[in-house]
Structures are given as C-alpha cells and as structure tokens.
Symmetry: C2
Subunit: 390 residues, 2 copies
Amino acid sequence: MSFANSLGRVLKENIYADRDFPPFNRVSMDGIAISHRVFEEGQRVYKVEGIQAAGSEQMTLSNTQNCIEVMTGAVLPENANVVIPYEQTVIENGIAKVSITEVSHFKNIHKKGKDKMQGDLIISKNTLISSAEIGILATVGKSTVKVAKNPKVMIVSTGDELVEVNQTPKDFQIRRSNVHTLVSLLKRKGIESKTTHITDNKEILKQKIKGFLEDYDVLLFSGAVSKGKFDFVPEVLEELGVEKLFHKVAQRPGKPFWFGGIATSVLSEQDVKNREKNNTIVFAFPGNPISTFINCLAYFYPWYQKSVGLKLNEVTAILSEDVIFKPNLTYFLHVKLSYKFGHLIATPIRGNGSGDLASLIDADAFIQLPNDQDEFKKGEVFPILSYRSF
Amino acid sequence: MSFANSLGRVLKENIYADRDFPPFNRVSMDGIAISHRVFEEGQRVYKVEGIQAAGSEQMTLSNTQNCIEVMTGAVLPENANVVIPYEQTVIENGIAKVSITEVSHFKNIHKKGKDKMQGDLIISKNTLISSAEIGILATVGKSTVKVAKNPKVMIVSTGDELVEVNQTPKDFQIRRSNVHTLVSLLKRKGIESKTTHITDNKEILKQKIKGFLEDYDVLLFSGAVSKGKFDFVPEVLEELGVEKLFHKVAQRPGKPFWFGGIATSVLSEQDVKNREKNNTIVFAFPGNPISTFINCLAYFYPWYQKSVGLKLNEVTAILSEDVIFKPNLTYFLHVKLSYKFGHLIATPIRGNGSGDLASLIDADAFIQLPNDQDEFKKGEVFPILSYRSF
C-alpha cells in the first residue's frame, strides 16, 4: 500500500537504508565553511568565494585561505571541513571575520553515514507504523510498503428488542448500540468492519451465518449466547461445524462468551487446502453492553495483535484503594486512570453492573483483578485494558 | 455529524438521557420470573404461564402462584419481582422446580432508572469521544452530534534540496519527508491536512502564503526559518502582517521556531468582523526532521487540544538512568517507554542530533528536561511527549 496511508498498520518487510544517512557531509548551521587547518594556524579573516545553497551541487573551496557561505542542509564544499555559524561571524564587503578562537574539526557538520550506512536495517518487519516510521519510509524512498492484511470482519447483532439509533423505541425496546461500540473499537485499531442485524429465528440465523463463514475472516456476535429460549448462536455455530474453543469464561462482567474456529472435520479436502482462507474466527459476546465492551478488549484485541504479528504489551496500573471481590471469577473493574509522578494510578469507579454503559463514561479502563484473590490492596499492581488514549 | 463517525472528535453539546436507563425493569438472567412474597412463603414449585421474550410487550403474571419464563433483556412481567435463573431451576412438563431456598427482592433484575433517570446529564460537552461515548450516543438516539470543527490545515515544505519520495535524489539532494511525518502526526489526532512545496524564492513564497492565509486556519512550515540566505519564511510572514509571537525557543533540538497569528493592524474593517475566520495560526518549524517532529508534539498538539476545548493531560515518566545536559536549554531527549509495576519508565536512547530521524524508530517518546537543571538523576520524574500509543 502507499506508505502515506500506512499509519497504524503493521509493517511486513524489513526496511534498509538506500544510501548513507546523511547521504553527504551535511551542513547543520547557516554560516561559513572553512579549512580547519587554516583556522588552527590562526587565520580569522576569510574572503567569501561563493554561496553553497541547500539543493545545489557541491562547490569546491578553490583557495583554502578563503571561505564559502553555506546553508543548513547544503553539501559541505570540497576542501572545507568546519562550519562557523553566522552568529560567530561578521561579513562585510565580501570578507568574513570570525569572532571565536576555538573550533573542533567537523563542527556543525553532520558527517556522511553517521546515522546509518547504506544497507543498514532501519525498521524491522512487524513494527507498528507510527509517524516516525512514516518519516523514515519517505526518507528511504519506500513509496509503497508491505503491511499486514487486516481481517474482513462482520459484526452481527441479535435480539428482537433492538431498534435502530434513529428510531424511537417502544417501552419494551432499546436501541441497537453494541454494534456501534464494536465498530468504533475496531476502527481504533484501524480495522474496518461491516454490521448486520439478524432476527431471533434459528433458521434465518443459520442461513446467514453460513454465508458469513464463507465470506469473512472474523465474525463478532453480540447477544444470543446465553441460556435463553432464543439464544441460538452457540447451537447454530456448532451445527455449522464451528469448533467450540471455550464457552462461559469465569469472569464478571461478561460471563457467557463463546469463541471458535472452523473445525477441520467438516471441511472438504479442497477446504483443507484453502484452510487459511476458511479458518474464520468467531467471537460471540453476550448482549450486555459492558460485557461486549470488555470481551472485545480482553479477547478480540489480543487475538488481532497476535494475528498481525505484534507483541502484546501488558500495561499495569496501581490500585488507589482497597477492593474486595469474593466470587471465584476474574473481575474487570471500571477505573479512572491518572499519571502521578510517573505512576499510573487506577481509581475504581463503581458501576451498576453489566448493563450500565453510562459508567464507562466516567472511567478510562478496566483493571483485571485475578480470581485467586479476594482482597486487592491499595498499592497493588494489576493489568489494565484501556479504551482511551493518553 | 453522524455519531458513527465521531470517534476521536470532541463533543460540543451535553448529552442527556432521553428516557430512564434501563427504560424498564430489565431481566438480567434467563430463567423464571416469580412473586418474591410467594417464594418467601416457601413455595418452590411453579406452573409456567408463558414466555416473556426480549423485545416483546410486557406480559402479566395472572396468578402469582405461577411463573413466566423470562429472557435476558426482556421486560419483567407485571406482578413478578424476582428472577430465578435456569441454573437454579428444573422445568419439566410445564412445571418449574426451584432448587434454592433464599433469594433477595428484585434479584436478577436491573431496575428501571437505576443507572440514569430521564433528563440526567450523561456526557458533558468537551468530552473526547471514545467507543464508550459512541455506545451511549447510540443508546440515547443521538444519530447526529455536534463536534468541534477541525482546523483547515496546509503543510508547506521549503528547501530546494528536496525531491519527492518516489524520485531518486542526486548526491546533494534528499527526499521530502517532513510533510509526510506532519500529515501523519495530524492524522493521529483525526485532523486531515493538505501539503505543498514552495521553491526557495521570496516572491513566490509571499504570493502563495498570502493565499494560504486567506484559505486556511493553520499553516505549518517545515524549513526556511533560520539565518540562511534563502530562509525567507519569517520575513515574508512579517511582511504579510503576521504577528510574531516568538522565534527561537531555548530548546534542543529544534532551536529556531516561529509562531504567529494575524496582526489586527493589517486587517480591514470587514476582516475584523470576520476575525475568527481570518485568524490564521502559523507554526514555522526548522527543516531538521527531529526538530519538526518535536515541535509538532510540543507546540501544535497542545494548541490543537486547547482550540477544540480539551484539557491538557500532562503525562510524566521516571528516568531510568542519570542524564547530564549543561546548556541552558530545555532538552528533549529520545526515550523508550515501558510499564513496570504501574511505573512508566523512560530509558534514554542516544541519537545523533537533530538530523537523525532513524533514532526515532528505537524510541517511543521525548522526555522534556528543564533548562534550570544540569543533572537529571535516575528516578526523577519529567513530562513526556509520546508518539506511539500504548
């Protein structure tokens, strides 16, 4: 893809220096270029032979008793090996007088090849591309770059109680919000996705999912994964040969949760050959807004990071107060984050349970409290899943 | 704008609850809904009257000795006030037998208005919109929202030594990289920008800038701000009536730096009436890649944050080793960031000065060391400017 569009993508090739950096002895201050030997011999007055502009071919100092005016970014003239900045020079009638008495060899010159030599590795494969990498790609002339392919994602909402955002729900209805949350959580990682809604009807669900398994790399479901009469998703996925990897994670919020891939047993020989293509990953999250939100951060994000070749960076924070949580479940607690003296502090925000999307507004992240502990003390450190950027 | 496109923008209106949240007594577990009073009286066997699905109108438990099967997300039936989950119930031939002996009033029911009451403020004006806000906007039916207008930005490179990224530079030339770095640094904040290159000719520069001052909210220059013979930018801006706010900041790298706005003295009466529109902000950065990079993080970012109404969040980190820097300048030192036990640790990376863009690859941020100190000790805390997200 064009390097200019690659911000936030993962580089899939090594990037090498196409020439030395700097590619020439580069002037790094505006001033005059002279011979260091002549300066050392005590000469402080120089006749100006000409001006070496940035972007012009290298000039030659024909008489080393003289000087050439040089601009930042210009090539150092032949026979010169030190630059005295204008701030330390007075130029009148074509004569430059230098006001300093000491200067080191190659001062104010960025020497050819000092940063990198031609052929040096500059950016490694599997680097997440930031603005720094964009600048380097431009510098070495990589106008197109190989990046990790993003998965084709379909996000499916279920639940007959849902109406569209621009509709007015009846008393027993609510608006469809989880798909929008998921789309934006994916967009934050640079992943585009499509969305659809399927009515709580097993046959329709099965038919649609069958098509999606052929066309998409990832399916994300919100709702219909629990024990309800109309929770057909796990059943339909199993009937379609999607291997259940786990269901019901011991965590709060977000207990029922389904995750799968395509089972090889139901694949034809041809399918097996195309396995990578057909190996759709399914994440089926509960319909509760907070559960869906946490599960996306806790399961989809790390899966995605690994799939594009990124290392997982665990971020930890310090609890600002004691927390007690007795059930034998991993507990994702809403926290507000703050940086104080280089410490990342997590202050618990008490929500009203897994339906309370509004509590997310006051928080920045979830802190992940492990199930083998009941009491979590002020000052203890745990991993966090943040949904805001700092 | 459409709420679905508002991720990363700054909200410019308060968002209120359009109804109670939850809008009805919402069932939060699949199971049976019964009368708490009847349960307390010792009854453990209930005839099933029907099924209350999510998205269906509220049913009524006609006989409080009976039960109604209820699905997560459904309205709690009239006359019921507790839900026993399927996990604690056996249903055979239309009769549900409950296996527990204690349950509290309204257990497994998310009560109407518990999270928010109709009319409550949910999201305040000037909030940076994350996925959490997207979910809330969907929930309350705000299909379109007011967000801060992003500035119209033109990024101008100067310097005749520059060639395009897809060209092969001659020995004395380099590729144009700073504009691409700046475009991506702005994109990271959700700001689109245009770019152009102007040759080192004062008249052409003046004519072009004049037009840009009329058409853009922000101009960013890279190069031509120093003391060189072809460094016309500060001169031209002054001639065009752009008020110089400061030039040459005492910092390394990135010393020459120009920042301005339009001086009211050169505005016509009509212009003054339209002042907000004409009040173009100019940031003119030096041509060195690192200087441009730092100046964008240190000056443009905070200006932008303030202009859209966001508070500035200072992030600080802990130095991992001693640093000595004697010049009386603010020193922006490349650092690698890591989170250890809730501490944000900044490990210095030694670059080769302001031309060495490659050193950015090994680092994540700059740590800002103040000018009133010469020695910076391991364990001391200073602000950081990060260009990677964690």
